[in-house]
């Protein structure tokens, strides 16, 4: 019975490792890897992920196999009790040194990847876009020709008349040329500074390819900045439980070449 346990644990450990190594669901074409990174900061996160995968994977395999081996050897064993060489002291020192170093290394190395995203301020010439999350849609706002966002007036929000942000163009000059859209179009290879505003409850902005996830918190002015490096269309999804339509709250990120972006913005401006 102990041997059966050992065999099953070994098989489970090895089978568990397969999709991690092949990045595919067993015998199918279903990809289980993160999609290709399209940001300037993402490679640091990906490297940290691979590094951690290596350490976690090896720890996992080593622990499961040793467990299996020891159970195999000691199940229903006859004879005298033997003590593990080195005893508790050896194991405690091994854990302190090995795991301590491992964790410290992960912690210290990981700081850089985090700092890339959060500690570097957005460039002054970054393209500013405001994102608003509300049940269950994202809206985006570009400041228009004057480069200024009009003020928000929650009491003026009127979705029936497409006033999603609560702008007051009658009294507020800055808001008159603001461009409001349902998709986030950005130019490739240019930094974007996304100003985040929650209309009702908590939401989140998650684009897998961008390696960006940031909550929208009602009452807090948050922002993230990033540079997309590849033209394409990507899904923005909400990852903070926000109500019944949460699963379907999405928008598209459209990364365009600079001329295409200029043309898109011009066209959107004319539609306002």
């Amino acid at each position: 019975m102990g041997k059966l346990f050992a065999v099953i644990v070994t098989v489970i450990a090895l089978l568990s490792a397969i999709p991690i190594v092949t990045h595919r669901w067993y015998g199918s074409g279903i990809s289980l890897a993160p999609p290709e990174d399209i940001s300037t900061h993402g490679h640091a996160i990906d490297e940290q992920l691979s590094e951690t995968m290596m350490e976690a994977g090896l720890s996992f395999l080593a622990a499961q196999l040793v467990l299996a081996f020891f159970v195999w050897k000691s199940a229903e064993r006859k004879g005298e009790i033997k003590t593990f060489p080195g005893g508790a002291k050896g194991l405690v020192i091994a854990a302190l040194v090995l795991v301590g170093t491992e964790m410290l290394a992960l912690g210290v190395l990981g700081q850089k990847a985090w700092a890339n995203v959060y500690f570097k301020p957005a460039a002054p010439d970054a393209l500013q876009v405001q994102a608003q999350a509300g049940q269950f849609a994202f809206y985006f706002r570009y400041p228009g020709a004057d480069g200024k966002f009009g003020a928000l007036h929650p009491d003026k929000i009127d979705e029936g008349n497409s006033n999603f942000f609560g702008l007051d163009p009658a009294n507020d000059v800055d808001s008159r040329d603001d461009i409001v859209t349902g998709e986030l179009a950005i130019p490739v290879n240019r930094e974007v500074h996304l100003l985040m505003h929650a209309k009702d409850v908590g939401h989140s902005f998650y684009v897998r390819e961008l390696r960006i996830q940031q909550d929208f918190v009602p009452g807090l002015d948050l922002s993230v900045h990033f540079t997309a490096t590849k033209v394409g269309r990507y899904e923005i999804v909400c990852t903070q439980l926000c109500g019944l339509g949460h699963y379907n709250m999405k928008a598209y990120l459209n990364v365009l070449s600079q001329p295409d972006f200029d043309a898109w913005l011009k066209q959107k401006a004319s539609e306002q």
Binding site: A44, S59, A63, L67, I81, A88, D200, G219, L241, N248
Partner: protein
């Protein structure tokens, strides 16, 4: 405290009436069984909810027979609505975390065995003890009531993030009375847990019998004691948090709601609150809660493993220090749930380090357990299989913590199925394996009947393989960016992953069905199991010195005297290879 067997003392006389004996009992053993029974009811409801969710995720349009009877509006024609999915998700998480993972390993087994293992006749405050169970029961009833309110059960998840949970029915169906009942239920649960924790602490410190020094307490007792200290501090924070949430909902206060929110076209009449305040308070409780679930399991598993290995652990003290270390660190890591919440990004780094450091005591414990297996004489029983299964699960669930402890990686993995896989393995399955190990081990003592070992082993194999089939793939899905808490997968990048979800659903249905074997074994053995001797496993601790089941006042009105450390195994004595804690005999080498 009296000095010996000559001075028989009884704190209270055995009750005679049915109500005092089985319902409002003051006996810690009956209360322990009541907690166990409540956890059993909760776990089967929670599991059934997870089945419904899993079926809906992969066959979204297939009607589930009978579901419309549970909720006409939530599941018209048996097909659940997105909001009803979220209700089931909320109720599943709440039932499992509070009424199963807190109740079973800690309150149930702790109540039953902590007093006995330290040689006491009962808890320090038997009346408090009865109150804590019945208060927990009240909390359970309030929560279940939320299933039957007109606009449905709450949909904000077991974490009940504000303002979704705070602004009322504008936020959607289930956010009316259902969410209020949720807040009330958890509020009441906190009171019960505070009473229980105080009782555990007082009992451990004051009622140890002669010779039972702190270092002679079994590891299981140590685990319950440390857990009660954690629980006291954690629930003491969740209690006011729930009160503030209820006030925001009912009294128009604004603790968690800022100004200017427009929910369902209504400008909310609140200002000045902070949604992050709720998150900080909730997770200040929420992270220690993980250890409230897992520490008792660690204690039970250690107790069972030592007995099965026929040797003490390589170090008794190191395990206890590690549990204390984990308990202490558990209060310094709550922010790792909030890396992308919008709190100051410097705090993320600060929270990341103690989170990574918790790996050290956890690894030391794992190495001590495994190192003790080496050269032991391991007896394979249903109980020891679940204890070994715990080790495997604890490692698997633990290593995924390496990822989530790092803010940079969390940017990608936060709110994905990777997190769901991680916490189900390490706090769900591992803790439940501790409960199974405890059940197979202590059932003979608690009922006076042996459990069927063959069925127990079969239950283990199916559950062990099954839980890996369910929860390992969650990690892969998370790596592919599969977002959690979605009632359907409609995004372009999620649709291709549905076959993996289908595999998980089938595994979940089969593994769930395997739990019926356990239930059958439990009920059948209770009535038809072979009579249990006093000490069937040749164990050393005090619970095995008395008949099975134990008499009303545990030690027949006497105070046992303890002469040894708890785990005298692998010795030569008149009883064999072990020596009971209360045996005056000295062990031979």
């Amino acid at each position: 405290m009296s000095d010996g067997p000559a001075h028989a003392v009884q704190h209270h006389t055995p009750p005679t009436g049915f109500i005092r004996k089985y319902v409002f009992s003051l006996d810690h053993k009956v209360i322990g069984l009541q907690y166990y029974g409540l956890a059993l009811v909760a776990v089967f409801i929670g599991m059934a909810l997870s089945w419904l969710m899993r079926i809906h995720l992969v066959w979204p349009n297939a009607p589930i027979p009978g579901l419309q009877l549970l909720s006409k509006t939530g599941a018209p024609g048996g097909v659940m609505t997105p909001e009803y999915y979220l209700s089931l998700l909320t109720m599943h998480g709440t039932l499992m975390v509070f009424f199963v993972l807190t109740n079973a390993p800690f309150a149930a087994f702790g109540n039953y065995f902590l007093p006995i293992q330290i040689g006491a006749e009962d808890m320090a405050f038997p009346r408090f003890n009865m109150m804590s169970f019945w208060t927990t029961f009240l909390a359970f009833c309030i929560l279940v009531l939320a299933f039957f309110v007109p606009d449905g059960p709450p949909i904000a998840g077991w974490t009940a993030y504000a303002p979704l949970s705070a602004v009322g029915s504008d936020a959607g169906p289930g956010e009316g009375l259902g969410q209020t009942l949720w807040g009330l239920s958890i509020f009441v649960f906190c009171i019960a847990s505070l009473l229980g924790s105080l009782n555990f602490i007082a009992t451990t410190l004051d009622l140890r019998t002669k010779g039972m020094t702190l270092s002679r307490m079994p590891i299981s007792t140590w685990a319950w004691f440390i857990t009660s200290c954690i629980s006291l501090l954690a629930f003491a924070v969740l209690l006011p948090a729930c009160l503030l949430l209820i006030l925001d909902r009912l009294a128009g206060t604004s603790f968690f709601i800022p100004a200017g929110l427009v929910v369902s076209d209504h400008l909310q009449p609140h200002s000045g609150g902070s949604p992050l305040l709720w998150q900080h308070l909730f997770w200040f409780f929420g992270h220690p809660e993980v250890y409230i679930a897992i520490l008792p399991a660690m204690g039970i598993v250690s107790h069972v493993l030592i007995n099965s290995m026929r040797r003490p652990l390589l170090s008794h003290k190191v395990i206890i220090y590690c549990m204390m270390g984990i308990g202490f660190l558990s209060y310094m890591v709550w922010g790792h749930h909030m890396f992308v919440s919008g709190m100051n990004p410097f705090s993320s780094l600060v929270f990341s380090f103690p989170t990574l450091m918790i790996t050290i005591p956890a690894t030391i414990m794992t190495l001590i357990w495994m190192g003790s297996l080496y050269g032991s004489k391991l007896r394979i029983t249903a109980a020891s299989l679940f204890a070994l299964g715990f080790l495997s699960m604890f490692v698997s669930g633990g290593v995924s913590g390496f990822f989530l402890a790092q803010p940079s990686i969390d940017i990608y993995l936060h709110a994905t199925y990777f997190v769901v896989g991680h916490f189900h393995m390490v706090m769900g399955v591992a803790a439940i394996f501790g409960v199974f190990a405890g059940t197979y081990f202590w059932f003979p003592k608690m009922t006076g009947h042996m459990m069927n070992q063959s069925l127990g082993r079969l239950h283990f194999w199916l559950t062990f393989i099954g839980t890996y089939c369910i929860f390992m793939p969650f990690h892969y899905l998370g790596l592919a960016g599969n977002v959690r808490r979605y009632s359907a997968f409609v995004d372009d990048f999620l649709v291709p992953l549905i076959p993996v979800h289908r595999f998980i659903t089938i595994a979940a249905l089969l593994t769930g069905a395997a739990q019926l074997i356990f239930l059958y074994n439990l009920i059948h053995s209770r009535f038809r199991g072979a009579p249990a001797p006093a000490n069937p496993w040749e164990c050393t601790s005090l619970e095995w010195t008395m008949p099975s089941p134990p008499p009303f006042d545990n030690f027949g009105g006497k105070h046992p005297v303890v002469y040894h450390d708890p785990y005298q195994y692998g010795v030569k004595s008149s009883t064999g290879d072990y020596l009971m804690q209360d045996s005056p005999e000295q062990a031979g080498a």
